[in-house]
């Protein structure tokens, strides 16, 4: 009997099995079968789930068994039935994932995060735009997302034209591999979880998905300039969030980000870049324009609505509505993974976390910068994000203000 017993694993780098918790369901440390998003829990792409099912040698007659199990988990989590979701998780026969399988999962996770869906057909070679994926732009070609729709709960379900493009070549996906590890380090923050369709990305510079692969930076090796890791992660962050840019705008994003993070940089250096490159500010996409916003008083970046607290992020976000284009809602006190009773009790959540006073509108690129600070490791193991959670709410809030000030969001 004990030979067939399974257990759930805790989330994190040491995860060698199935984890089901309030943030979703993970297989191994890297691959999310179910993720929490602003609109609820969503299951991974059908094609990726099929690949994972194969990689884990899950012996089921139905090739989509894992995808369907993910849907059951997502449905249970959406109903608040975590225990039932965990029971579904226990039914996934992945007891101890071995090294080879972990690598395969990480690779699938990388491709998934960059928008790759193995089910999606490509334009045949030899034709104009041959090899490109058919989704996006005018939507011609009709990617087979196996019935996925915005309501289906499938992560791959995004409105046509908003979906990030896949890596163009195998080498591109390899290039994403080291980025992915960093990306996961900050996946639990609200910014990453906001990756939902329709998030302030209706700019003129958003283009058909076929153009969205960030142009090559001419080779990146481990010993090249250190800031590449931040730049590459930013690309993944924006693609994940559905911001599809022209090659010219990708170039601008990278250059402006580098200028923005440079010690002692000022807004004037960003303006100089535009002037030197003949770029018209008004024609830039909102995610770039918002980087130019000078630090503001906190009150200007919070809602005008009456103060209110809620028991869930979904309720709070409904109350707040969408942030302006180029901005994202940011929780000053981290919402995920808190363990202090004063922040995990329903009253604590309502008072400190899912509260209008804890929400601030942050330019997307500056939000990414805050996530980077939160992912640093003061002692080599604990991240800043985790270390903060040992502190009382007021301390966490004050440090959160410090991050906002340091990143030029508030003054």
């Amino acid at each position: 009997m004990f030979e067939t017993m399974r257990r759930l694993h805790p989330r994190g780098a040491a995860n060698r099995g199935v984890c089901v918790d309030g943030d979703g369901a993970m297989l191994g440390p890297d691959w999310a079968l179910v993720e929490r998003a602003a609109a609820g829990y969503r299951v991974a792409q059908r094609g990726a789930s099929r690949d994972v099912q194969k990689a884990l040698l899950i012996d089921r007659d139905a090739p989509d068994w894992l995808f369907e199990q993910g849907q059951r988990i997502a449905d249970a989590l959406n109903r608040g039935e975590v225990a039932l979701a965990q029971i579904y998780g226990l039914r996934i026969p992945a007891r101890e994932i071995d090294g080879g399988q972990l690598k395969r999962l990480a690779s699938i996770a990388t491709l998934t995060k960059s928008g790759f869906d193995p089910d999606e057909p490509r334009i045949p070679a030899g034709q104009p735009r041959g090899g490109e994926w058919t989704t996006g732009g005018n939507g011609s070609g009709g990617s087979d997302n196996s019935g996925a729709s915005p309501d289906s709960g499938d992560i791959s379900a995004r409105p046509s034209g908003e979906r990030a493009a896949p890596p163009a070549t195998a080498s591109r996906s390899e290039e994403f591999a080291p980025v992915r590890a960093q990306f996961f380090d900050h996946q639990s923050n609200d910014g990453a979880n906001n990756a939902a369709p329709g998030r302030g990305n209706s700019d003129a510079n958003i283009v058909p998905a076929s153009y969205t692969v960030a142009p090559s930076r001419g080779g990146r090796d481990a010993s090249s300039s250190a800031d590449e890791s931040g730049v590459a992660g930013l690309e993944a962050y924006l693609i994940e969030a559905g911001y599809n840019l022209t090659p010219e705008m990708w170039k601008a994003v990278r250059a402006l980000y580098r200028l923005y993070v440079t010690p002692g940089s000022t807004l004037s250096s960003l303006w100089s870049y535009l002037a030197e490159n003949g770029l018209n500010f008004d024609e830039l996409p909102s995610i770039i324009r918002s980087l130019f916003d000078a630090p503001k008083p906190l009150a200007e970046l919070q809602t005008n609505k009456p103060p209110a607290g809620f028991y869930s992020e979904a309720e709070l976000k409904r109350y707040l509505g969408d942030p302006p284009p180029g901005y994202e809602w940011h929780h000053i006190i981290e919402q995920n993974g808190q363990f202090r009773p004063d922040l995990t009790s329903p009253e604590g959540i309502r008072t400190w976390i899912q509260n209008t006073a804890n929400m601030v509108m942050v330019p997307v690129i500056k939000h990414y910068c805050i996530n980077g600070i939160m992912s640093r490791k003061p002692n080599g193991t604990l991240t800043v994000r985790t270390a903060l959670k040992f502190h009382e709410p007021a301390f966490q809030r004050d440090v959160g203000f410090g991050f906002l000030k340091f990143c030029g969001v508030i003054r």
Partner: protein, 130 residues
């Protein structure tokens, strides 16, 4: 080709390597991801190599507490904290007074080393007003 710390390296070479990469880290500014990469690829492995050799090796970092670069002082105080707590704490508290990456990391290093109750109030340190 970047050299990696190995058992053939003596303490001085490891310390110089930490100093050099801490200076590189200080150029990352607001880019926490780039700073993390330097930590994980260069500074932490060298720090771990020093720690494995014992406290006398780690103590050789203490002169860097007076280095002109804030990130070098931060690296020295974080890695050699147990070797001279009062002196390292003083350096971290001083660094934490400035709201920049080194200051934030100094505050959080104190939090990790000493626990949440022993950390200065960020509101007072950074002039936070609501």
């Amino acid at each position: 080709m970047i050299e990696k710390p190995g058992s053939a390296w003596n303490d001085d070479r490891l310390i110089d390597y930490i100093r050099k990469w801490a200076i590189e880290r200080s150029k990352c500014g607001r880019d926490g991801y780039a700073a993390n990469r330097i930590d994980e690829r260069y500074i932490f492995p060298a720090a771990n190599a020093l720690k494995r050799r014992g406290s006398s090796s780690v103590s050789k970092l203490l002169p860097l507490l007076h280095h002109s670069n804030a990130d070098v002082r931060l690296a020295a105080a974080s890695i050699a904290y147990e070797a001279d707590k009062p002196e390292c704490r003083k350096v971290l508290e001083e660094l934490a007074k400035t709201l920049n990456m080194a200051g934030i990391m100094a505050l959080m290093t104190l939090s990790v080393k000493e626990g949440p109750d022993a950390v200065p109030n960020p509101r007072a340190l950074w002039g936070i007003k609501e």
